[in-house]
């Protein structure tokens, strides 16, 4: 499998100014994304889950270079795009696109649907005006809307339809790679399934690669080939979605899995739920050592002192947890 995107030790810190106790300004750093590495293969869907504030959206935006990374490398199709300025990024912009969470806020209310979609094609000078129009209609058809919709404005559509327009827009430049940032969170259950199935279908037909960001574990598990779990800016576990469900290793993943309510009353009432105590600590002053140690039922002194490294415990199953240090060592000896 070819790697389409490779992220190496990516960091994104935000400076925070606060008033000092007496005088002056105190400078703090919010570590939104801290030392995250992974690869995305061509044609796959990599899911990214985590609770609010864990940095999954920042990670997606940093990969798109909407934010400038603080450290690390982003390698897209073999080229390092970390240091490129916005102009140099132009040729890459065509290949990577984004679908946003809020279909109400991400469409310009003063533009018609065809104008919204056509805007993505502005840079494609090879297309004539009539070809563009034709392409808009093609795209609308592709996402399950019809040609009547082209002249309408966003407010005339329902949430699910708007998200379809957002998807059509992101497909207009024939991208290879799409970051889907919570594309279904704002939609109703019955509409969510429509949009997810559409995304799956488009992937098959156009050979797209997705980075699918969501907080809904069951939806991520459904759409993704591999899933990464994030906690406080770090990736704590990465495995194929089947493996992650069958044998989650990190205590956080286990807790997250058991916290998701299943629509089955008998199972739900028999299930022994692992309830993690407390809340996610602030990313401004994250706990030392492993970030999860304040809530982890199996935390030891080592967890409080030393941050675990993100390593491959079994083939293609990465985890950052001291509980699996021994297994890692054994493997090295072998």
């Amino acid at each position: 499998m070819n790697t389409i995107l490779s992220v190496k030790n990516l960091k994104k810190y935000f400076p925070i100014k606060r008033e000092g106790k007496f005088f002056g300004v105190k400078h703090d750093v919010l570590k939104a994304v801290d030392d995250v590495s992974f690869d995305i293969y061509e044609g796959e869907t990599l899911g990214l889950v985590g609770e609010s504030g864990c940095g999954k959206t920042t990670l997606g935006r940093t990969i798109m270079r909407l934010y400038d990374p603080t450290g690390g490398k982003i390698i897209f199709k073999g080229d390092d795009i970390t240091e490129l300025d916005q102009k140099q990024l132009h040729p890459y912009r065509k290949d990577m696109h984004m679908i946003f969470q809020d279909p109400y806020a991400s469409l310009n209310p003063r533009m018609t649907v065809s104008e919204i979609i056509m805007e993505s094609m502005i840079n494609d000078t090879a297309l004539s005006a009539s070809q563009r129009k034709e392409k808009v209609l093609e795209l609308l058809d592709l996402v399950g809307l019809n040609s009547d919709h082209a002249t309408r404005f966003p407010h005339e559509f329902s949430g699910g339809q708007r998200q379809r327009v957002g998807i059509a827009r992101s497909l207009a430049a024939n991208p290879k790679f799409i970051v889907c940032d919570e594309p279904i969170s704002a939609l109703d259950v019955s509409i969510q399934a429509q949009v997810v199935n559409l995304l799956k279908d488009l992937q098959k037909r156009l050979g797209l690669t997705y980075l699918f960001i969501a907080h809904d574990l069951s939806m991520v598990q459904y759409i993704s080939d591999r899933v990464g779990v994030m906690y406080l800016g770090r990736m704590v576990e990465l495995a194929s979605s089947e493996e992650l469900y069958k044998s989650p290793l990190h205590p956080y993943t286990t807790a997250l899995m058991s916290a998701v309510p299943v629509p089955d009353p008998d199972k739900e009432r028999q299930k022994r739920r692992i309830i993690v105590e407390g809340e996610v600590p602030s990313p401004i002053n994250p706990p030392s050592g492993c970030a999860f140690n304040t809530r982890c039922p199996r935390a030891t002194d080592k967890c409080r002192g030393v941050a675990p490294s993100f390593t491959e415990v079994t083939p293609n199953h990465f985890v950052a947890c001291h509980l699996f240090d021994n297994e890692k060592k054994e493997e090295k000896i072998q």
């Binding site: 609770e51 259950v189 969510q192 997250l256 899995m257 916290a259 629509p263 009353p265």
Partner: protein, 328 residues
């Protein structure tokens, strides 16, 4: 067991310049002490309006046009605002979706909680009130309740705020608690904590709970009875196990099939086609007609009445007419 709440043919409409919108259309249910009933539905299905009607808090422009709400045997529809105020907050209380917008940002948690005690228990002394507040905060699982009571809402996290809201709603020992999407704004691990807390409340205080949600997983974990709402109507109501394992209405089937499930592999998602119809347009037939794969000719022409599809299992669908035969 006593019926604490009995809703009979309740209809609430909103009158807009474009016409009447039947947000809640003739819903009926009963709720016993210590029972949890879940109202499930998508946005715009009328589940929140139904709960607001019970609280007597329907927005301006809206009106209860039909039906009775018997709380402890007494009809609360059309009660004067003064009388309703006595019930609201003390006997029926409510938790909302977004705890941040429900708490006043300029008062401390403690003083906001004290307010309802001052109103409903006039004979309490200040020390008694304080003690009660601290006990309640402790009960809902807030560490250092003494300190927390002195803090402002912005100093607490989302899950903590929702706990405060729950503590506040329980202060006057209500007999009925209405929880409107109490966990929607929270993360899953916090959601699990809050669901757990609500289960304890139900057992400890024998409080009846109306849970309004769109999450069928949450419903499965806590509810005793479920009502599925669609376009203002209750299309199916049953005991929780029956609703999941022997559901009857095509809309309920659709909802269950549209959910991805962690406990099952490779369940293909089957979305419900189309979207909810415009409630302004009056149509003769079943509201779900256009999206239903089992729709028949009669579904277009006439609204289905309520059919009994088993013990305490009601369905609004022509398929359960005694003369209906499955076409093969």
């Amino acid at each position: 067991m006593n019926n604490i709440l009995e809703v009979k043919e309740l209809s609430t409409s909103f009158f807009t310049k474009f016409g009447e919108i039947k947000a809640v259309d003739k819903i009926s249910f009963t709720l016993e002490e210590g029972e949890v009933i879940a109202i499930v539905g998508e946005s715009g299905s009328g589940k929140s309006v139904a709960s607001m009607s019970i609280m007597g808090l329907v927005d301006t422009g809206g009106k209860i046009v039909n039906g009775q709400i018997l709380f402890n045997g007494k009809d609360v529809v059309g009660l004067k605002e003064k009388e309703m105020e006595k019930i609201r907050g003390s006997e029926i209380s409510m938790i909302f979706q977004d705890p941040m917008t429900c708490l006043n940002p300029v008062f401390t948690i403690g003083s906001q909680m004290e307010e309802s005690l001052k109103l409903h228990f006039k004979e309490m002394t200040k020390a008694q009130r304080h003690e009660k507040i601290i006990n309640m905060l402790d009960m809902v699982g807030i560490a250092n309740p003494e300190q927390r009571a002195k803090q402002y809402p912005h100093e607490l996290s989302g899950g903590m705020r929702q706990r405060v809201m729950i503590a506040m709603s329980l202060l006057c020992n209500p007999k009925l608690l209405i929880a409107d999407e109490p966990t929607t704004a929270l993360d899953v691990t916090i959601q699990a904590q809050i669901i757990d807390l609500m289960r304890n409340i139900k057992e400890e205080f024998n409080t009846a709970i109306i849970l309004i949600t769109h999450d069928l997983g949450v419903v499965a974990s806590i509810a005793d009875k479920v009502m599925v709402m669609y376009c203002g109507e209750v299309v199916e109501s049953a005991e929780v196990r029956k609703l999941y394992y022997e559901s009857k209405h095509p809309y309920t089937w659709g909802l269950l099939k549209a959910l991805p499930r962690l406990d099952m592999k490779d369940n293909e998602l089957q979305p419900i086609p189309g979207s909810t119809p415009d409630l302004l347009l009056e149509h003769e037939g079943c509201n779900f007609f256009e999206r239903c794969e089992y729709a028949m000719e009669c579904c277009r022409k006439a609204k289905p009445p309520v059919f009994e599809a088993g013990e305490a299992h009601k369905v609004k669908c022509w398929r359960y007419h005694p003369d209906f035969k499955e076409d093969i």
